[in-house]
């Protein structure tokens, strides 16, 4: 496959759970997965980085708060500043928010209960490293599994996020209707994922790595990994 040259690093923090799954998804989509260790300063020359789901450090302080201070995060921040593609999934999204690389924060679900189920997302922006191959308005099916996935932001942040088109995914119906019934966790504006201003850093609560292999789930994550691998390859060309 064309993307075979793309090397995608997946960071393991103590308490990461979906790190192997993300590596598997990269492989499934034709890329090369590279395990990265939180305590190292070595990004091993990868072309893209995935911060996987899980409960880093048990989420005992605040979700993602301690992992945001990990040694490797300094390198990932520099990598992102150079334009390298970074995808944060679930706990990885929380880590990106905690480390200030993405706006907003994630708090407990509106129901106060952990939720694991397939949901539909509406793609809001194709101006990112993980949605470049998708059309705005397109809907994709991807599972969520989190207890603290309610996206919140200050009024100023929210105005900025919305006006600059930095919402990447919203919870929606299969037909693309964004309403409260389709909002699984109470996120403001049904926001499921956001990007930084350059679009190379994206975080989302749903789990695209669990939505590539049709034998074990929906396939709405394929487009995200295909775009991420393509963005990684551009980096190689660069």
């Amino acid at each position: 496959m064309a993307a075979a040259g793309a090397r995608v690093g997946v960071v393991t923090f103590p308490g990461s759970l979906d790190d192997r799954d993300a590596l598997d998804a990269v492989t499934f989509m034709g890329g090369t997965g590279v395990p990265l260790w939180h305590a190292s300063h070595d990004l091993q020359g990868v072309d893209a980085v995935v911060l996987p789901g899980g409960f880093s450090y048990g989420d005992y302080l605040r979700c993602g708060a301690i992992a945001g201070k990990a040694a490797l995060m300094q390198e990932i921040r520099a990598f992102a500043e150079r334009g390298g593609p970074v995808l944060g999934i679930c706990n990885g999204f929380q880590i990106l928010c905690e480390s200030g690389m993405l706006p907003g924060a994630l708090i407990r679900n509106r129901s106060l209960r952990f939720i694991c189920k397939d949901v539909w997302l509406r793609v809001e922006s194709s101006q990112t490293a993980v949605t470049a191959g998708m059309e705005p308005g397109e809907t994709i099916e991807v599972p969520i599994k989190h207890g603290e996935g309610q996206f919140v932001a200050t009024a100023e942040q929210l105005a900025e996020i919305e006006s600059e088109g930095r919402v990447v995914f919203r919870y929606a119906t299969a037909d693309g209707l964004v309403d409260d019934d389709a909002n699984p966790n109470g996120s403001v504006g049904n926001i499921a994922g956001v990007r930084n201003d350059r679009g190379n850093v994206v975080g989302l609560m749903p789990h695209p790595e669990h939505a590539v292999d049709p034998d074990v789930g929906p396939t709405g994550g394929q487009g995200m990994f295909a775009s991420l691998l393509a963005a990684a390859l551009e980096g190689v060309a660069r």
């Binding site: 979906d18 129901s111 694991c116 599994k145 669990h210 074990v216």
Partner: protein, 738 residues
């Protein structure tokens, strides 16, 4: 005047004759720390002293069995050099006292059993039983347990893929909280007492969490005595879980095994350090010197007996050659875990324990483990067999509204969807879950192969209350059927045996009957017992739970892509019932919910018929003949059809008049050895051929299709309405959104 306190041995749960036995073993009065060690190790929970004599009669051998009962978990060979390790345990007493932590630490404990065999945990299942949810305390217990299971399981990266939930009055005082874990290892890397050899002079390294005052007396005071009004005061005997440490422990342990750094590995569970050190030493045929001052403590001033019996969670004990100690400590440090030498193996069989420079215990290691007491407790059948106490519902007249009866059964918490529960568990982490809780058996892929593991847990407490022999046999049969409807071949079982007080002859009779039933069924269905757990003393104020052995069945699909789904996948399929319906309402859901009785004879079980049905299901799935298959049991064929429609999203039109039974019997009879299947019309001939070859009578009930579910004149409703009712029932009882 206050009464003189009971002698120390009684406070520690030891009977007078057990105390005498200790004196005889040691040739002197035991020291306090020694008494605490015996109290914990000779507790029912650790020693199986009342059950062992019966458990020995179970079939435990089979071509696929790699490790049978007696180790941390059983192991089965699934081919290609892969071993599947699995075990079930209960954490009912702690959960009754503190539901969140009780359930959470139950998950942590069973996961450590699996990793101590050198296997990566790949699936969890949670069979649960509670009192009716109309009672607010039961709702508190239920939601607490569910949240605790999720709180731990979701945090360690092991998917929770199934486990059934039942409700009955007998569980109001005694909820039953069992948990099964399944792991995968390379067969040549299994950590067993035969694969790893320990030597004198080797270290015992305690790694993981520090030791605190939580869970002291857990096995002797909580797990091995009945709950009473003062049980709330037992909260300090409940352990506190730290799932983050549990996750680190998994990764560190598997890395230690993978790198070949260990001579032995054991988890710390019931009876804490005492159990792990004495069992490890006894298994190696040696003794040990144990230095309690080396144990990292959570608080200063802990006494020897507290350190010895603390059940603080997330600890493991590795046996390490001194030359490998540094490497072991490096692996543990990488995962942020303490690893310290607390003991050394020595020749001879003595376990010597020192604390603050003083010997506080000096006992033969084997006297704590293999030489624990064993009882053949008196058994007595009740004067009247329980199935003959009340009127048999099979023969009661029923003139009620069938439509209403159907909705009552469908919405009964025993039958209704448990989605509200399972949605709170991460069922997909590790990326191998082909089928989760909506399926009769969960199906999990074996990475790197086409194989699928089919997993089901089943308990038939209500049948057991009427006939403990049949209840146990049915549990095995249903578990095997649940695995077989997915197309998988049943391989072996583990179990958790939930019973009342074994000191009561009637309970012991129930236990012996259940073991006999389980043994007969396992033998007939070719599924040996690889291990399990006994949970006695599930009673309060003289009222015991129903005799409820829960069976955890492991089945194997050679190719997971041939898995047969539960629900009707499309319109235009022919619907068949495989197996026959007889007039059997005794102990059934209809009898309890509609007629208001738990009475009568449970359905008969012909193990030859069951075996034939299972072989047919596996053969038909292997040829890709079946479009869907669903076990027909609780609530009868009417419920099985409704569930297949809800799950698949397609309606059906069928007739049940062929059985020549009264309509309510035809709909709700729970006759064993049946399944509801759907097939493409061009496959009907092949299905009939296969059924004939296996001697299973097939009945063509009708077809799938359309938005409605129609059974003769008895039911005509949309599938959407069915689903709304089925999925809304449990949340409505809890006052939660569906």
């Amino acid at each position: 005047m206050t009464e003189a306190p009971a002698p120390l041995h009684r406070q520690l749960g030891l009977k007078d004759d057990e105390h005498e036995r200790i004196v005889a073993t040691l040739g002197r009065e035991p020291m306090p720390a020694e008494l605490a060690m015996y109290g914990a190790m000779w507790s029912e929970h650790c020693s199986y002293k009342s059950s062992k004599i019966h458990l020995k009669t179970l079939p435990t051998e089979g071509p696929a069995v790699l490790v049978g009962p007696g180790q941390d978990a059983g192991a089965v060979d699934v081919g290609d050099g892969i071993a599947v390790v699995f075990k079930m345990e209960s954490h009912s007493h702690p959960s009754a006292v503190e539901p969140y932590q009780g359930a959470a630490t139950g998950v942590g404990g069973i996961v450590r059993d699996i990793i101590s065999m050198g296997a990566r945990p790949v699936a969890l299942l949670d069979p649960l039983m509670f009192g009716p949810l109309t009672d607010p305390r039961n709702r508190w217990l239920f939601t607490g347990v569910v949240t605790g299971i999720g709180g731990y399981g979701n945090c360690i990266g092991v998917p929770t893929v199934g486990g059934e939930i039942h409700f009955a009055d007998v569980h109001t005082a005694n909820p039953t909280v069992d948990v099964m874990c399944v792991g995968i290892a390379r067969a040549d890397k299994l950590a067993t007492s035969t694969s790893l050899v320990a030597r004198a002079g080797s270290y015992m390294v305690l790694y993981g969490a520090s030791t605190g005052r939580d869970g002291i007396g857990g096995v002797s005071m909580l797990a091995s005595a009945t709950l009473d009004d003062s049980s709330e005061e037992s909260r300090p005997a409940v352990q506190i879980g730290d799932p983050f440490a549990g996750k680190l422990l998994i990764e560190a342990s598997l890395e230690l095994i993978e790198r070949g750094l260990l001579e032995g590995l054991q988890d710390l569970g019931g009876a804490g350090i005492t159990c792990a050190v004495s069992e490890s030493a006894a298994r190696a045929g040696m003794g040990a010197t144990l230095d309690l001052d080396a144990v990292p403590l959570r608080q200063a001033g802990m006494e020897a007996f507290e350190i010895l019996t603390s059940e603080s969670q997330e600890r493991m004990l590795a046996i390490v050659n001194p030359a490998q100690l540094t490497a072991v400590q490096e692996v543990c440090a990488k995962w942020g875990l303490d690893a310290v030498v607390i003991a050394e193996l020595v020749t001879g069989g003595m376990l010597t324990v020192t604390h603050a420079g003083t010997v506080v215990a000096e006992v033969p290691a084997r006297s704590l483990t293999d030489e624990a007491p064993e009882y053949d407790r008196p058994r007595e059948a009740p004067a009247v067999h329980p199935s003959e106490v009340g009127d048999d519902p099979t023969f009661m007249a029923f003139n009620g509204d069938l439509d209403q009866a159907f909705w009552s059964v469908l919405r009964s918490p025993n039958i209704a969807s448990k989605r509200w529960v399972h949605q709170q568990y991460d069922s997909i982490v590790q990326g191998q879950t082909v089928a989760g809780a909506g399926s009769d058996a969960a199906v999990v892929r074996v990475p790197g192969t086409m194989k699928g593991l089919a997993l089901s847990t089943d308990g038939k407490g209500r049948y057991g209350s009427l006939d403990p022999y049949l209840g146990a046999a049915h549990a095995v049969a249903e578990a095997a059927r649940n695995v077989a409807v997915t197309g998988a071949t049943p391989l072996a079982i583990t179990n958790c045996l939930n019973f009342g007080n074994p000191e009561r002859p009637e309970v012991m009779w129930q236990f012996a009957e259940a073991i006999r039933g389980m043994g007969d069924a396992c033998l007939a269905l070719g599924s040996p017992v690889t291990g399990g757990n006994v949970s006695f003393y599930n009673e309060a104020a003289g009222s015991a739970i129903w005799p409820t052995p829960v069976i955890g069945m492991l089945g194997l699909l050679a190719d997971y892509r041939l898995r047969v789904p539960t629900g009707f996948p499309r319109a235009g399929l022919a619907v068949y019932q495989l197996g026959e319906t007889f007039a059997e309402l005794g102990g059934g859901e209809f009898a309890e919910v509609v007629l208001g009785v738990v009475a009568g004879k449970p359905p008969a079980l012909d193990l030859a018929r069951e075996s034939a049905l299972i072989a047919l299901l596996v053969a038909a799935a292997g040829e890709d003949v079946l479009a869907s298959a669903h076990d027909c049991s609780d609530g009868g064929v009417a419920i099985a059809l409704a569930e297949a429609a809800i799950e698949g999203g397609h309606g059906f039109a069928v007739t049940l008049t062929g059985a020549d039974l009264p309509a309510h019997v035809a709909m709700f009879s729970e006759s064993a050895s049946r399944a509801v299947v759907s097939v493409n019309p061009e496959q009907e001939a092949r299905l009939l051929e296969l059924a004939g070859a296996h001697g299973v009578p097939p009945t063509r009930l009708g077809e799938t299709g359309g938005p409605r579910a129609v059974i003769d004149e008895m039911l005509d409703v949309t599938v959407d309405k069915l689903r709304e009712s089925y999925e809304g029932a449990l949340p409505a009882l809890l006052g939660e959104p569906a």
